[in-house]
């Protein structure tokens, strides 16, 4: 999975990757199983952090209750939605935050498939951009 390489790059650039979803906490185990992701992952069913992160424009459409139900149903059946063949990493957005509290980078996904690319994030961290840039 590309994600593992991505995490290595971020770690090398001096950052920690933390995932924040919005389902019930017990969904996390299923997500790990589905993706093989072993790193930090949390959830915020209240969506308060999504709002505070100013992602509402990006996630508003998909967070329609009907959309959520559809997502859960698809998740349970193992059919993941999305243009990129149901990428379970579909982002609501990405924030890069320094220990100073400064937001170094902010990306609000506007539609399915509109994900921040790791090279962009690594650049925001002041790391080296990989020679062969690829799409996330």
């Amino acid at each position: 999975v590309q994600l593992h390489r991505d995490i290595d790059q971020l770690t090398a650039a001096g950052a920690d990757l933390i995932l924040i979803g919005n389902g019930a906490p017990h969904f996390i185990a299923g997500f790990r199983e589905l993706t093989g992701y072993q790193g930090p992952i949390y959830t915020d069913p209240s969506l308060a952090t999504f709002r505070a992160a100013e992602l509402q424009r990006g996630v508003g459409k998909t967070l329609d209750p009907r959309g959520i139900g559809k997502g859960i149903g698809a998740f349970v059946r193992g059919h993941r939605q999305g243009r990129t063949q149901g990428d379970p990493w579909q982002q609501g957005g990405v924030l890069v935050i320094a220990p100073s509290g400064d937001v170094l980078w902010h990306h609000a996904s506007g539609r399915p498939g509109d994900n921040a690319s790791i090279p962009e994030i690594v650049t925001a961290l002041g790391g080296e951009r990989p020679a062969a840039e690829r799409h996330a």
Binding site: G21, H26, A29, Y42, D44, A52, F75, V96, P99, G101
Partner: protein, 49 residues
């Protein structure tokens, strides 16, 4: 790329730092702890519910 980039949208994470998220057991964790020591890349995902 670049379509979702908003340089002036959110400069500081002070408000975010006080909010909590839940871990797998449902225990609240303060968001600000994630970037206390190292820079944090928070990826908000739409899935798993």
């Amino acid at each position: 790329m670049g379509m979702g980039y908003h340089a002036a949208m959110l400069d500081r994470a002070d408000d975010l730092a006080k909010l909590t998220v839940l871990d797998e057991s449902g225990t609240p964790v303060e968001l600000g702890t994630f970037w206390r020591e190292r820079t944090a890349v928070l990826v908000f995902i739409r899935h798993f519910g």
